[in-house]
């Protein structure tokens, strides 16, 4: 259990998908204009990552590997299957949210289907494969990674809301400023490098 908490903390803070690896930047920059939308998207990302990670793990270990049920190395199908799983899961989440919480569905709007092409989701699964996590580790990694991404996007949304009232040069306003802010946040997160949560 301790090892899983370790991985959760590591993937949320020390190996933050958004601020250490800069994954999921497109939606991160486009949706962070207000905290409200950032919050909603962040929650959705946690959910999707938490679900797709274990499913992709199962697919990778039991279908694609040489030791799987097909007995042949099918890893060249990995990209297609992973993205298909992600797209299906997002579609499913969309349908469930629409049915059980129409208010949430309306406030999330277009951002929900956009999660499919969020590099952080596919990136998370690909990292899971390269780090050779087992099943429970993948779940911890997915939830932690999602949580870290959520923190990152809410944080920058908060900053951008405040910066709207500052005197920024016209050509730097908006997107340029967002890049600068993200870079600074990334630098700050570098200070967390090397911390071993197990030491606490």
């Amino acid at each position: 259990m301790g090892e899983l908490v370790n991985i959760f903390i590591k993937s949320a803070f020390i190996e933050n998908l958004a601020l250490s690896y800069f994954l999921g930047m497109c939606s991160y920059l486009a949706v962070s204009k207000t905290v409200k939308t950032a919050f909603g998207l962040g929650l959705a990302v946690i959910f999707v990552l938490g679900i797709t990670m274990p499913i992709n793990w199962i697919i990778n270990s039991y279908l694609l590997s040489e030791n799987g049920i097909f007995g042949v190395d099918l890893t060249f199908l990995r990209f297609i299957l992973f993205i298909a799983v992600i797209a299906s899961m997002v579609q499913l989440v969309e349908m469930v949210v629409e049915k059980y919480s129409p208010a949430l569905y309306n406030s999330l709007g277009i951002f929900l289907p956009l999660i499919t092409v969020n590099c952080a989701i596919l990136g998370g699964s690909l990292f899971m494969v390269s780090k050779e996590y087992n099943f429970s580790e993948s779940v911890a990694f997915g939830l932690g990674g999602g949580f870290g991404w959520f923190l990152a996007i809410v944080a920058i949304a908060a900053i951008r809301e405040k910066i709207k009232y500052s005197n920024v040069p016209p050509a730097l306003r908006g997107l340029g400023m967002a890049f600068l802010l993200t870079g600074l946040m990334g630098m700050a997160f570098m200070g967390l490098m090397g911390i071993d949560p197990a030491a606490f």
Binding site: E15, F76, I80, S130, K131, M193, G194
Partner: protein, 247 residues
């Protein structure tokens, strides 16, 4: 609006075409893939003796590397007790062609230390001098790191090292692989202090002992500590074999 059956038909046709194309490509290119992987790890092994190879090491072609391996390298596999395995024994154990170059080192390191098989490459340079290239593996900051260390025929002086990593930070931990001048420091260091196996230590803040220490890398303390640790345990594991060489 497409009917359900036409959707299903479309999906089936598309999936089949896609699967066929990719399977064909994968099969067609597999031989090249395997060759590339094998040459990549051979080049890493040779990087440890790059100083002893004539010409610019970075300009070596695939053919050159294979040539050196065929003509100037003698491969062996040893176990924790220093016993050398014959090609037949290795073939029986499932090692392809019975050669050290085909050992799955990541898998070996998942076994307990006493059960691990380790490669030894004896390299003879163009002047006829022999060098012994050993392999070790350990943990860096984020993930695994590994490396090769080449010893001169006195089984004490280091002729060169080469390191690689899975996920160290570019510009920091990854410098163990990229920074050629840092790597060159290892040349000439000694692994024995009298009869004691002292190994080489990467010292933060600068090397003090000229024989057994090298400078650290700023911002990469943990990776560097990982290098020190894997050199120590690695050399210790080869000790029985090294003793047989010295005699």
């Amino acid at each position: 609006m497409h009917s359900t059956s036409s959707i299903i038909r479309f999906v089936i046709v598309m999936t089949s075409i896609v699967a066929l194309i990719l399977a064909a490509l994968q099969n067609g290119l597999k031989a090249r893939h395997d060759r590339n992987e094998s040459l990549y790890s051979k080049k890493a092994t040779l990087a440890a003796v790059s100083n002893e190879i004539d010409g610019d090491f970075s300009k070596l072609t695939d053919a050159d590397i294979q040539n050196i391996f065929d003509n100037q390298i003698v491969q062996s596999v040893i176990d924790a007790s220093g016993k050398i395995y014959s090609e037949e024994e290795l073939l029986e154990m499932g090692v392809k062609n019975g050669k050290a170059e085909n050992l799955d080192l990541a898998k070996e390191w998942k076994k307990p230390a006493e059960e691990r098989l380790r490669p030894v490459y004896k390299f003879t340079n163009n002047s006829g001098e022999d060098f012994y290239i050993l392999y070790t593996r350990g943990k860096g900051l984020w993930d695994e790191i590994w490396g090769n260390i080449a010893l001169k025929s006195d089984i004490n002086t280091v002729a060169g090292v080469s390191f690689d990593h899975k996920a160290e930070t570019p510009g920091l931990g990854a410098e163990i692989k990229e920074n050629k001048s840092w790597v060159r420091q290892f040349i000439g260091k000694k692994i024995y202090d009298g009869l004691e196996l002292a190994s080489i230590t990467v010292r933060k803040g600068g090397a003090k002992d000229p024989n057994h220490e090298v400078d650290g890398i700023s911002g990469a303390t943990i990776t560097a500590d990982g290098v020190t640790a894997m050199l120590e345990t690695g050399l210790e594991a080869y000790r029985p074999y090294l003793e047989t060489l010295k005699n």
